[in-house]
Symmetry: C2
Subunit: 346 residues, 2 copies
Amino acid sequence: MNPILVDVMRGGAVESTHRGAIAVVDADGAVLTSLGDVERPIFPRSAVKVLQALPLVASGAADQLGLSDEELAIACASHGGEEIHARTAARMLAKAGLDAGALECGAHWPYFEAAARALAARGEQPSALHNNCSGKHAGFLCLACAMHGGAPDLRQYAKGYVAAEHPVMCEVSAALQAATGFDLSGTARGTDGCSIPTYEIPLRHLALAFARVATGVGLGAGYADAARRLRAAVASAPYLVAGSGRFDTRVMERLGARVFCKVGAEAVFCAALPERGLGVAIKIDDGNTARAAEVVMAAAIEALVSLDDADSVFMRSLSEPTLQNWNGIQVGALRATDTLRDALAR
Amino acid sequence: MNPILVDVMRGGAVESTHRGAIAVVDADGAVLTSLGDVERPIFPRSAVKVLQALPLVASGAADQLGLSDEELAIACASHGGEEIHARTAARMLAKAGLDAGALECGAHWPYFEAAARALAARGEQPSALHNNCSGKHAGFLCLACAMHGGAPDLRQYAKGYVAAEHPVMCEVSAALQAATGFDLSGTARGTDGCSIPTYEIPLRHLALAFARVATGVGLGAGYADAARRLRAAVASAPYLVAGSGRFDTRVMERLGARVFCKVGAEAVFCAALPERGLGVAIKIDDGNTARAAEVVMAAAIEALVSLDDADSVFMRSLSEPTLQNWNGIQVGALRATDTLRDALAR
């Protein structure tokens, strides 16, 4: 039974609660914090996009195609479908000689509602470029371009790249397995929202992977260099990895390269903390939106990263966010529980 | 510790879980089903709008102003902010000699995203009429009109009607207390999303209130008549109580007057089942969106309402909904747990 990590408060009472688990691990695999069941495999969903992007850089594709920091950042993104996101993904595809028609992630209205309304106001419909995963998929297609060695029938080669058995996805899954040190052949495999496979992996292994991303230790030279480059790219373009108002963007705009964090669907959250050489992995049991996972991640950053007073106040606003109603009245708050704070302080 | 009521499945594995509690009670207060802690007070939020609308009818306001079924239905609604919803709320206000300026619920973009995009496409901004609670608030203002006896300074009298101490809100809270049989003076009070007070009430008492709504038993003649009329109004206009694609609307369009169900924020769900004389009240611990509460309510309706084969198949599609990804591929499902099904079958 996982402990309660987040309380939802209203009128001085606990209205709702979120149980979950968190692992904090260093690159040697030593477990600093373990709260709840960190050995049970969970689907990491989009929280591991940076691991899935390692081959894009390690293969040489990023250099061959001259990908920018913005483009590498969006390859690690779950973005809001704002104009800059759609445009950046389109530019990556163009560098590979492809267009949105090659994307196999499906189309949906931008997650950022103002962007969806703006699109509607222009009389347009969303395309696969607005899918929150379009940058990751553009990265897969850039990888396909490099793997195919510039042969003319790239579109045909790349077709079906989302399937677990496609050479491109095999490269992506190999990186995931190498970074986490977890055998993917024996674990449950599901299909993600964007149609690529997602594999169940324990939080302890996910945290280890992010400690490796933080330090390079245990990744091998190619992936270590790739991890460093991807972290730097995201730190220089944090708007590309999420977008307006989003936790990941706000935290990395504030703390820069000191934190690399990435949310995933069903309330998964992972982070690399380079200064401490640590990885963090979180899963909220109920999986229902990001609110609790964000509070837990904010509390972890507060506990594990050395912050000045202003940055502490900022992070506290994310680990104890207030809830306003439609009239702007404060009606409640989320808060990290003492159980969580105590475990992180040990 | 509340039991797991709903599993979220992906790739053959349990990806996420939802704990919660459910009470099924008859109008004499006999408990038919009790799973999890049904004595702990919880904020019922919008699930009790039908109880809060009892004075609108019992006071004579509905008759004096000639409110239609559509208008009574929207007084019990958490609607999607579609055109018909905004228009119906506006018409109620006009009957009371008021307009949207009297609403104190705040404005927000329509919850139904296509309605929000349509509004944006017309270059418009949302008003308080698009607030999901605008019908309930219009009902409060119609009640204010009757309580004020047609005096000319209605707008001044109604001002601040959302406050717990305002005569209008005192009437509303008195109905809530009478129906639930729970003393509100000694329980936690929070502020709801639309600025009115919300009081913590145990699930057992909420289920009792809905058994009373189902039967009239224990309500007193005025509220019993009001409950019957509100149930009939919603059964005849279920689109007004929620809207496009919504659980409450879909179930009541299908089952008519045999079920009155109403979702609330933070995963609360209540229902009156007139044929069985039962009330149902559900709270999912994590409170995070409606998905799990809907599955539990669907399972309760399956177990407690006599359904033909076609209706059973329909309800099973709501108690075991499949999850599709952006390419329309089935990637998972929600399902009521055996723990829940067994408790409901006893």
